[in-house]
């Protein structure tokens, strides 16, 4: 029995069910890695965990390659989809999350339902679209919210139905959507006015750096919605939640001690988080590896520290900073900035963009030159027809 048992859960094929009804079938092996072929089997496994305390890892089957599967089997998990039984004692109540792998191979981070349930205050009734891949931290955030609070319904997508989410959202009365900035950019680019047919009262962004242009675009499209962005990771848990429609978070939140809230600090340009929501075994003070810049009254989080730096003839250029400038151009919907090996200077700044078609690359380069040092101006710009999105809804920006 869970507080959200009567909440509606709409599966990708349009079938409406409830958490209570998902508690069907036999108990799972324990511990178990459920490599889900579909959203329903992932949700069923979660509901069984709530009932039985099964030690559980859920992940979309497509995210688990052969090496990772062998690691899970070696770690003692049963993998029913491959006929592998468990071969160690289970840790009751333990949940495992695979990191997105955007900074290397996916890692297993230990959590519990309690550590993943970060929204505890009563929420207005909402029907959430859940576009995330099963088992990711953001997916768990929506799942635990729906499990814990009456009135928090879920409409779940899968890769086959994701592109058409506005239609499903309108059909099933979705009022809240959580997605990565890449998901939102792609949606705004692809669906345009169709989005306004979905009466959203809550928009949430997370999983990637959140920049002001995407917040502004969403505000223009959904003038009445509350727009929130969340800084969260499998390791740190949910650490920052901002509702004021501005990128970054208030600098006054730094170095603030509070019983229930994570302690945030910036040391040598890196965000450090001490969070009560962190995963098991994660250091109390986590070096996030994310760049943090205190600008006026805000702390901006433009991207990762490692991998962000492009060395152009000895001048260090931040890929995140260049990307931010490109995204301020009103015609640019998405941008990725990388270093490209080049003679004489080692690397040149290169960019891939998706635009609304009203700007060419020469104009975009001149725009960049007006806002950036010469070495930071992208010398090669490639226009992509679509925003590339991975299964995690991120895009390696």
């Amino acid at each position: 029995m869970t507080a959200g048992d009567a909440n509606r859960v709409v599966l990708p094929d349009g079938t409406a069910t409830t958490w209570r009804a998902l508690l069907d079938g036999e108990p799972l092996p324990d511990p178990v890695a459920v490599l889900a072929e579909d959203a329903a089997s992932a949700l069923r496994a979660v509901r069984r965990h709530v009932e039985d305390g099964t030690e559980l890892l859920v992940a979309a089957r497509s995210r688990v390659d052969e090496t990772l599967r062998a690691e899970l089997i070696e770690a003692g998990f049963a993998v029913p989809s491959y006929g592998v039984p468990a071969h160690r004692a289970a840790e009751p109540g333990r949940l495992w999350i695979l990191t997105s792998g955007s900074t290397g191979r996916p890692k297993r981070i230990g959590h519990t339902l309690d550590s993943l349930t970060t929204v505890r205050e009563a929420q207005p009734p909402r029907t959430w679209l859940c576009p995330y891949s099963p088992g990711t931290y953001a997916w768990w955030q929506l799942v635990t919210l729906s499990l814990a609070q009456p009135g928090q319904d879920l409409v779940v997508t899968d890769p086959a139905t994701l592109d058409d989410w506005p239609r499903a959202a309108a059909k099933h009365g979705v009022t809240a959507v959580s997605g990565t900035p890449t998901f939102w950019r792609q949606s705004l680019h692809r669906h345009g006015d169709e989005l306004t047919t979905v009466p959203l009262s809550q928009i949430t962004l997370g999983g990637e750096p959140v920049d002001q242009p995407v917040l502004d675009l969403l505000r223009a499209t959904f003038p009445d919605a509350r727009i929130s962005w969340i800084y969260a990771s499998s390791e740190a848990g949910a650490a920052v939640v901002v509702h004021d429609g501005r990128a970054g978070f208030p600098a006054s939140w730094l170095d603030r001690d509070s019983v229930d809230r994570p302690r945030l600090s910036v040391v040598d340009g890196e965000l450090l988080v001490a969070s009560p929501h962190r995963g098991a075994g994660v250091p109390e003070l986590l070096h996030t590896g994310d760049r943090a810049e205190v600008t006026g009254d805000r702390v901006l989080l433009p991207g990762r520290i490692s991998g962000d730096e492009i060395n152009v003839g000895g001048t260090k250029v931040s890929a995140g900073a260049v990307r931010e400038v490109l995204l301020t151009h009103p015609s640019v919907r998405w941008a990725r900035v990388t270093g490209r090996r080049a003679p004489l200077v080692g690397q040149l700044v290169s960019a891939e963009v998706v635009t609304d078609g009203t700007v060419d690359t020469a104009l975009l380069q001149r725009f960049a030159a007006e806002h950036l040092a010469e070495s930071a101006v992208p010398r090669r710009i490639r226009v992509l027809p679509e925003i590339p999105v991975k299964e995690t809804l991120k895009s390696d920006v």
């Binding site: 003839g313 490209r340 080049a342 200077v345 040149l348 060419d360 090669r380 710009i381």
Partner: protein, 93 residues
């Protein structure tokens, strides 16, 4: 600067084609490429970043990376030096 998409590649660019790309690199900055090959690169404002960009443009056109280790870098002072080097690098790659 033009989009590098789609990459319609050719096997080797001749000097005139490389010169066209050089013109484009300078034009993006509001500069002109003088006729002939004797113009001094410093005088026309063609610098390391520009040369690097030109090399990438050549790579995009021919669909492969240039091997700058092959001939060893030499003193590049004029437009002709740039055209010589990039023509030679394509042959060496």
């Amino acid at each position: 600067m033009n989009s590098i998409d789609p990459p319609a590649t050719v096997s080797v660019l001749d000097r005139d084609q490389i010169r066209d790309l050089m013109t484009q690199v300078l034009a993006a900055q509001g500069k002109d490429l003088p006729s002939g090959e004797s113009a001094d690169l410093r005088e026309i404002g063609f610098r390391s970043l520009d040369f690097s960009e030109l090399a990438l443009r050549v790579e995009d056109e021919i669909g492969r990376e240039l091997n700058f280790d092959a001939p060893g870098l030499r003193n590049i002072r004029t437009v002709g030096d740039v055209l010589d080097l990039l023509a030679e690098l394509q042959d060496a790659t």
